[in-house]
Amino acid sequence: MVIHDALRRALDAEQPVAVATVLAGATPIGGKLLIDAAGVTTGSLAAGAATAQIVADALALLQRGANEVRRYEGGLEVFIETYPAPATLLVVGAVHIAIPLVAFARTLQFRTVVIDARGAFATPERFAHADELVHAWPDEALAGRLTANSHVVVLTHDPKLDDPALLVALPSAARYVGALGSPRTHARRLERLRAAGVSEAHLARLHAPIGLRIGGQSPEEIAVSIIAEIIAVRNGRTGAAPS
């Protein structure tokens, strides 16, 4: 249970880790080594000289979030599985669509953060299922917390709230930035963001109108199209049907 408990603690703390398991070629079969992002290990594999290489391979796989069987000298076979820090969905605007969106995102193992300065919207009653509820202006709430694991969805429909969020999110490392609004709303938004000095390269990152085109009408259907678009981006796909 030592490795299992260490893994559980790392997952709870949202720290990235890898686990190497002996499949063949060393005793015992099933021996485990847990490796954290700094290369610090827990447990042992009886893998001798191969251990250093296993740790190096685990760190490389952790970067990519990949799981693989690797072979080493002497018929040693090791399964390396990785647990990158969880993807985060940050929803700006605690509107109706945000409620099913947070539910779907949690099912898909995203950490969910809902941001809205308006207390009537961002209530614990409406968002009991969110991991975090932030009562703050979106630019303040987003500043400093966006990484390559972040996915930002802007839903307020109000330029006073949407624009400051986008001004922080677009130049950030965030993997996905999307904003709700009709093509006309979006055209006006692009003009404002350009005037505010956002580069064309950063504007091109914006997914708007948000979501895959599945004809969604209800808040739940629109939430499906948004989360589907995020999955497509994570997988390097467009979301179009295979031709």
Binding site: M1, H4, L7, R8, L11, T21, L23, A24, P28, I29, G30, N67, E68, V69, F79, E81, Y83, Q109
Partner: protein
Amino acid sequence: MNDVLPAIERWRARGDAIAVATVVRTLGSAPRGVGAKMAVSSSGAMAGSVSGGCIEGAVFEACQQAIATGESRLLHFGVADDEAWDVGLACGGTIDVFVEPLR
């Protein structure tokens, strides 16, 4: 792991022994990716999956064995597409599953 962890913790809390099965290698069209997990308790409960349902029965049995013997095993499933129904792997492809008692 995240999808089976809550069940594992529940089973541990009530004193069950547990085995975990993990997809470690796939070839061809496999329904679940490498790293997919299924957990089984000594009282017969099950969480997660290692395929689209085609091999869960056999893996469940292997998990019960692992709990009983304390030994880990690498299982191999799969055949050519036209024979696939005979062994229950309707999707074709091959799947290697590592079954281990949680300890």
